[in-house]
Symmetry: C2
Subunit: 421 residues, 2 copies
């Protein structure tokens, strides 16, 4: 980068909405986005007429072949009454709606539009988990697809490499999984709205009711070490290291800084934008880092004038437990090889000094891939406004938040910084 | 629209490249984009180091399921040596790379980036025409897909409605087809680099060589009226009313106005940006107009301060012959119901007062859907610089050009205006 990236015009988030993530037989992408949109419009403190929305960006990755329907831009425009105004779909695999958000920022900062909606939607439950896992593999690189990699195995490879290099063991990731579930248990919009302890209790009750042998786990870690509770998926990624297949949608509303206070007295200012790209495993120097994230962080920190130490809390892309560890190191929150120790020490817990994934993360909140980016923004919007309910970060001084989103296993990487003023 | 759309910062095109469109067994999307990129970089008058490219946008529509590989952003980034810098894929069906171009403009006008590449790529020949036609249908609206519409039938329906309303006959579209082929015969990059007369002669020679009955067509129109030459596809769209399946790529390079002259003394200034959306046939008021195009035109004319009369020539989206007629009316070049007469009167010919599709258009140049938008910009770049060779518009005073691109049959619509100063 020759110079620091700056926007010529400030941009703010003035609203955010999302329905609960999950697997829904009775709702499709149109229904889910309509709910996200309604929630988003309803969240604008001083109200807004949807007619004031100049343009829309929507992220989606898999609907083309998962539900055999492409060209979602105009379908979504129709659902929210936006026709004939412009809508653009972005696709960066699991980072699709972070790209939508970024384009919305550019469209406003360019001076062309005043009010822009950014969101995402994905409908993954209409296929079996096996079909969907195979379908998602086309978002990896051609050489990986050719050799039969799926995402659990791609991240498993990264985890093995991390373990080799830094000595972390599979068991070291359990603290992180327990933390994600503890947060998700307090998040009514999470697909897995339950702690590991809750899930253990459900299994015990079920065994009792069926007259089966009752598991005797002394604590969460003993359950996570039991293959009947936590089976292997792709070494060393076990079931509780992996995010689920999900249906979901999310949407956030943006306005130029100049007019944001017409809509709310508490806008979130977009203070850092960053995006980078990466290559396949075979071309990567270091499997324990995503070069696109490092680049995105450089852009975002550069624009904000801040560093990792200034970020009060962050939603990171934890499609697999190891991804959260690598993310927190790539973003500079922890030293190389030390990210996996952070949760052990309680640093990334809700009441720690650097809360990570207070929503429960992709692992527990769910990961409808195209909807994840703006759903992360929904979480930090709620937290920075003190509206996160039971999962509210107890520190009342939080002011700067980040969202980190990864498409593929590093092909597309975004990092965005927000400030409450 | 509450106010006129303006960019806070000027944006220029400083280079453009595309390989010949066609159907290629020996080259894939990566190869084609690499060629477009090389041509684009090579076209920059004063040279440019690819390292100076800050970001890339790439349009693609069908590769996810046509070649079973998604997430093309990072693949393209790798091909052109752009990793770890950002790349974003846009998808608006056949308007995908016009959206890429538009986002590139916003990214520069926002002040964030200085030099951005926009392009598109599509690889359609790996499927049979039947499979591809069915595959493309998922870019129509859900109600249309459900009832078995394909694109020839969707545009056929619009043509029937146009005929009902304005009295045009199928035969009235022949002048337009002849004109497109006349232009394409002079375009070495066109998939069908041949006039109707050339194609007739080839058929006659082939019949003679095989000892078959030799067709006795007195002129092009007699050939176009002969079902053995021009069979019906979906009434009233016949073979020569329809664009082909194509493989291809195209790329253009953009820079902020402030620095454009470091790269060329003849940049093209982006003076009008417009985009709109539309709904399915069943929800449309008027099948003889695309409401998204009307909206896009309003935005683009509004930004430029110009009107249709100021546009010296234009590339319009003629996936089917009727689409060119409707486009020229929606853009305000001709009155409603009179667009089909324009070519009859020679107005839209290369030497007419409003040349349309000097490249041969989608019909003859080919239509690798994701590559079409920036390929249209390649054409007006060559024309406005006087570098269009044999197909150069004879009027030396051309200064303002337009590009009009449609995704689906009107779901996504763009219109962009350029000026040579």
């Amino acid at each position: 980068m020759k110079r620091e990236r700056k926007l010529g015009k400030g941009v703010c988030v003035i609203g955010a909405g999302m329905p609960k993530f999950g697997m829904f037989n009775d709702r499709d992408s149109k229904d889910l986005f309509a709910e996200a949109f309604k929630g988003c419009i309803g969240s604008v403190d001083k109200g807004i007429d949807p007619k004031d929305i100049d343009a829309v960006y929507v992220g989606n990755a898999t609907n083309d072949f998962f539900v055999h329907q492409a060209h979602w831009g105009p379908i979504i425009a129709d659902v929210i009454g936006h026709v004939p105004k412009p809508i653009t779909r972005t696709e960066g695999a699991c980072a699709s709606s972070s790209q939508a958000f970024r384009e919305a920022c550019f469209a406003i900062a360019s001076g062309f539009y005043d009010v822009v909606l950014a969101g995402g939607v994905e409908e993954m439950s209409k296929l079996s988990t096996e079909e969907a896992t195979e379908g998602l593999a086309i978002f990896s690189f051609p050489d990986e697809l050719k050799h039969g990699f799926t995402f659990p195995s791609l991240y498993g490879t990264r985890a093995v490499s991390y373990s080799e290099k830094y000595g972390a063991k599979w068991e070291d990731l359990w603290d992180l999984t327990i933390k994600s579930h503890n947060n998700a248990a307090l998040n009514p919009k999470a697909q897995f709205n339950a702690s590991i302890r809750d899930i253990m209790n459900t299994r015990i009750e079920r065994a009792k009711a069926k007259g089966q042998p009752v598991p005797e786990w002394r604590d969460e870690k003993e359950a996570l070490g039991d293959p009947s509770f936590n089976p292997l998926i792709a070494w060393p990624m076990h079931l509780f290291d992996c995010c689920p297949m999900s249906d979901g949608a999310s949407a956030v509303l943006l306005a130029s800084e100049e007019i944001a206070r017409e809509f709310t007295d508490n806008p979130l200012h977009v203070i850092g934008l960053g995006q980078g790209s990466g290559t396949s495993l075979s071309l990567s120097e270091d499997l324990c880092s995503l070069e696109g994230v490092v680049y995105a962080a450089k852009e975002a920190y550069g624009m904000s004038g801040l560093g990792p130490e200034d970020v009060d809390f962050c939603e990171v892309h934890d499609c697999f437990s190891i991804a959260e560890v690598i993310a927190t190191e790539d973003l500079g929150f922890f030293k190389r090889g030390e990210g996996y120790k952070a949760q052990k020490e309680g640093i990334t817990a809700r009441d720690g000094s650097k809360p990570i994934n207070t929503s429960g993360g992709l692992k527990c909140k769910g990961h409808p891939v195209g909807a994840t980016g703006t759903a992360q923004i929904y979480e930090i919007w709620k937290q920075l406004r003190g509206e996160a309910g039971e999962r509210q970060i107890p520190n009342p001084n939080i002011r700067i938040a980040g969202t980190h989103n990864v498409g593929g296993h590093g092909g597309t990487c975004t990092f965005t910084l927000f400030e409450r003023r």
